[in-house]
Subunit: 135 residues, 2 copies
C-alpha cells in the first residue's frame, strides 16, 4: 500500500553534502536557508507571518530506505537501534521534520528560515505552524 | 516531481468518523489508540521504550489534497487562511503529526498510545522519538 507524495518546494542551503551536515537544526553548523515554494502553491502561504515558528517537512531524497536499524548518530561504537527509535534520515519514509523560524520572505514564495541542517536541494513536502502558536 | 510513500502501519481507534474527531491529540475526545505496525518493520521498533514520547506521522487518506486555503478549524465565520498557515488535514500532502506517549506494547508490533485524534484506519507512515528525549 502506498501513496504519492508531491514535492511543494526545495531547500537552498550552503550545506552541500549530507556527510558534513549537522544532525539537527539546533546543532552547530546549521545555517540560515532559503525555502523556495513552487508558485503553484502560493495560496497555501497566505497569512504566514514573519517571526512565526514553523514545522518544515522535507524528504531526505538521498537516504537509504531499506535500513531498519542504525548506529545512533552514525557512531559505530554505539549498538544498533531500530530506526523508529532514532531520528536517522535512514528509514522507510525518509521524512525530515525541522523546527524553524520564518525570518523573512524573499518574494511571494521564497521563505528565509533561521537555522536548518538539511542539504541544498532537499525536497520540501509540507509546512505547518507550531502547534503552540496556532489560533 | 513526486515520491512513493509506503504505509508502515494502521491506527485502530474508537473514533470512526473524522467529522466527529477532535482536531488535535490534546483536545477533549482524543482517545487511547492502537498502532498496528506491519511485521515487516518489526526491527525498526527495536529499543523503543514504554513511557517514551513519540512523534507519530500519519497520512490523512480522506483529506482533500487540492485545497490551498481553509477556514481555520472549519469555522466558516473565520476568514480563509493558507493551508500552510494551519494544521488542517486538507493540504497537498496530508501528513498528520501527533505527539503521543507509548503506554504499552501488545505483542511485538502493536503499540498502545495514550491519546490520539486520528480516525480508525488512518495509515501510519513514520514514528520518531521526541527530539527532547533522544540520546
Amino acid at each position: 500500500m502506498s501513496y504519492e507524495l508531491v514535492v511543494i518546494g526545495t531547500v537552498h542551503s550552503s550545506i552541500k553534502d549530507w556527510k558534513n551536515a549537522p544532525k539537527m537544526e539546533d546543532e552547530p553548523g546549521a545555517v540560515q536557508a532559503r525555502i523556495e515554494i513552487d508558485p503553484a502553491y502560493v495560496d497555501g502561504l497566505d497569512e504566514m507571518r514573519i517571526g512565526q515558528q514553523l514545522e518544515l517537512f522535507t524528504w531526505f531524497h538521498k537516504a537509504d530506505r531499506d535500513v531498519l536499524s542504525v548506529h545512533p548518530r552514525g557512531d559505530i561504537n554505539r549498538p544498533r537501534r531500530g530506526v523508529f527509535s532514532t531520528r536517522s534520515p535512514f528509514r522507510p519514509n525518509p521524512i525530515g521534520l525541522h523546527r524553524v523560524k520564518l525570518i523573512a520572505f524573499d518574494g511571494p514564495t521564497t521563505l528565509i528560515v533561521d537555522s536548518l541542517e538539511a542539504i541544498d536541494g532537499t525536497p520540501v513536502i509540507d509546512i505547518k505552524p507550531n502547534p503552540k502558536e496556532i489560533s
